[in-house]
Symmetry: C2
Subunit: 460 residues, 2 copies
Amino acid sequence: MASKREMALTYARDNRGRLIHDLFEFIRIPSVSADPDWNTLENAASWILQRLKAAGIQKTQIFQTDGPPIVYGEYQPVQSPICTVLLYGHYDVQPIDPLVEWVSPPFEPHIKGEELFGRGASDMKGQIIASIGAVEAILSQSNLPIAFKFLFEGEEEIGSPNLPRFLQEQRNLLGCDFALVPDTGMIAKDTPTITYGLRGLCCFELRVFGPKSDLHSGQYGGVVHNPAQALCELIAGMHDSEGRITLPGFYDRVLPISEDERKIWSELPQDDNGYKAQTGVKQLWGERGFSAAERVRVRPTLEVNGLLSGYTGNGMKTVIPACAMAKISMRLVPDQDPEDIKRQLIAYLEQQAPETIRWELEQMAGHPPSVVERWSPVIQSLAQALETVWYTAPVFEREGSSIPIVGMIKKYLGIESVMTGFSLPEDNIHAPNEKIHLPTWGRGIDALVHFFYNLVEKAV
Amino acid sequence: MASKREMALTYARDNRGRLIHDLFEFIRIPSVSADPDWNTLENAASWILQRLKAAGIQKTQIFQTDGPPIVYGEYQPVQSPICTVLLYGHYDVQPIDPLVEWVSPPFEPHIKGEELFGRGASDMKGQIIASIGAVEAILSQSNLPIAFKFLFEGEEEIGSPNLPRFLQEQRNLLGCDFALVPDTGMIAKDTPTITYGLRGLCCFELRVFGPKSDLHSGQYGGVVHNPAQALCELIAGMHDSEGRITLPGFYDRVLPISEDERKIWSELPQDDNGYKAQTGVKQLWGERGFSAAERVRVRPTLEVNGLLSGYTGNGMKTVIPACAMAKISMRLVPDQDPEDIKRQLIAYLEQQAPETIRWELEQMAGHPPSVVERWSPVIQSLAQALETVWYTAPVFEREGSSIPIVGMIKKYLGIESVMTGFSLPEDNIHAPNEKIHLPTWGRGIDALVHFFYNLVEKAV
């Protein structure tokens, strides 16, 4: 007779088609937290609340915040639980522009070959459905002494500004043994991955002002400092010729790379050619003295995310723009602090910006980097589950991305997070034609089922 | 009994209200040559054709080109003409963005105090109506032995790409003694101005390409060269710390400033404070070693007219953009040549662009600088007319702007141009809230009437 574990896995696999249907429905609800034109966030929150109910979660609740609602769910087993898992997800997604580059509409999911395309397929509506699917499979067997709590927010992609207050106010409700954050990815197909570190993030909008209105470049060219040029000069000065960031004090709190980590990353199935293939560039770029694998994991970066000034339509308009704008963000590593970075950027601008222009800086979001425990029994349960499904031990990874919840849960609840996920580097997250690889996603559901059974067996 | 000259002036003044009404009608026809959304250029061409007919111009014709139509008109006096004037105008206008900065809709003209607001009010629908109004006043007296030819094009603001071919094909039709180009301005209210030099223009769109699509800055920040950053680096390098342009060979053909011109400009009623007031900047900027008045007239410049890359909407999107674009234009001075400048820009990019990105350059327009005769009898007739109306001798000016027709008429027809006009520095041409100062515009009509009478009297 099949074990409960096997029955749960069979249940999950039998329901694979229904879960794909759910993912289609979920993707069809536009939930771009950054874009008022596409943010039916309440609909996405309601949908997920209903989906939790359908999965058998006894207690569900919507919490209003100053931003999008937070969806909470809780399942308590009949017997006393041996552990409580807080499962985190975000139901918001990235903006969809440049829309013209999408091969099919971003909110109209479709399957082509082994891939399911749509905004949020990987980040992270697909991962949410996988997680709920795994829990549903567990509950279908109704005997596992694990309590599940669910926390779904709708503003992760804009830095989770309202989450700290919610965590503080609801710290009793959210009490748990650990948080499961299935919002990371695998470093390569067939390489299951557990993430134990994340970079932090700091986002700014920098605006440079020149003349009081756009000027005719014939009448005034040579008289005023062009704000677009001044902005370019400021941005160009933010890196030196070695690819290092020049903000004063920027590297002061950056920890050195440990020897064991350096060794691990040098052995990853990821090399320069892999990065070139994924990105399509002929030559990589970055801070001298570090490998690409190190640069994306444990070195801070500064990126221009957007530029806008003057006339950008067809043809030409010979104007000196009145202003110029850049969106700039930094990825931070331990022990950098977002508040320090803001001060450093201001110091840079105060030192470098010429008297010929005026500037304004707005901070959009900021949260610190985080590193979590690598050797706990919970991590071992997850590692074993991943190995069972992929027939290979997982790699331990520090991701270059940022997930605000991880640092916040640590700070406000004192709780460690376990990070894993089943999106692949080629899944175009945050980009046009986002997708998820369905076979990998299916294995991910199996792995989560194993993980929950392993947790109980290890505890016994 | 009043002279014919006085009768013509009276006619022009009696019709001032009707001419303002005409200008309202003309402005209401959107004719932005650079913007497909606002380019009812055929309507503007038809309107002006009808207006010529109404003014008594016997022969009118529309010429189709590969761009907008060219409107031609011709009036031959009963007696044999002692001179033939080719009156030039462009019925296209500049784009209207940033639309939000317009206090009232750009194509809905209105009068406030002494100013008439609307796109094209100054540049140059107002000047066209003034010129036609002056000719109409002359014809109302039906005895002046001047032949008038009219040439109105619809793509001056995008560099007149189809005009050279038309001038070559119709050189017999366009035969004349001189061209009157009323597309320049006055250096200050109460300072009538004859323009004898113009800067040339070279426009480009520079596109920098990095990864094959937008990338997640967490996943790839530190691995690829951000194209927005690379573009900023390239632009920042185009000027040195002295405000000089670094394209190789850029200054090789720039002529030195003559002593008499330097003296004239140092005595103009225009100083740094005037430029500051007009532009609203606290501190001027430009090439070291030259006054602001010199820099805008006879020194070449390089401006960023537009920047676009990545995410520019509300909030943040932590993306490494796949590409970045800048619109860049240079104002040229004698003897710089647009073809040289293109080669110099390409040479700069080939030397400076790193291997980590790919770039593309598209030339949008280019035409050479020009300087015309300062001491001809025609110019003296105009100078005298301006002095009659303003009670002060005109200043002789070299404008920083560019009017492609002037160099082209010289090149293809061998004809000199006479440049004047009645727009003021504060008229916001090429900018939001373009306007014309009605008292100055009215005096301009009077001055043109005097000019035509002077021409005949000087010839007699």
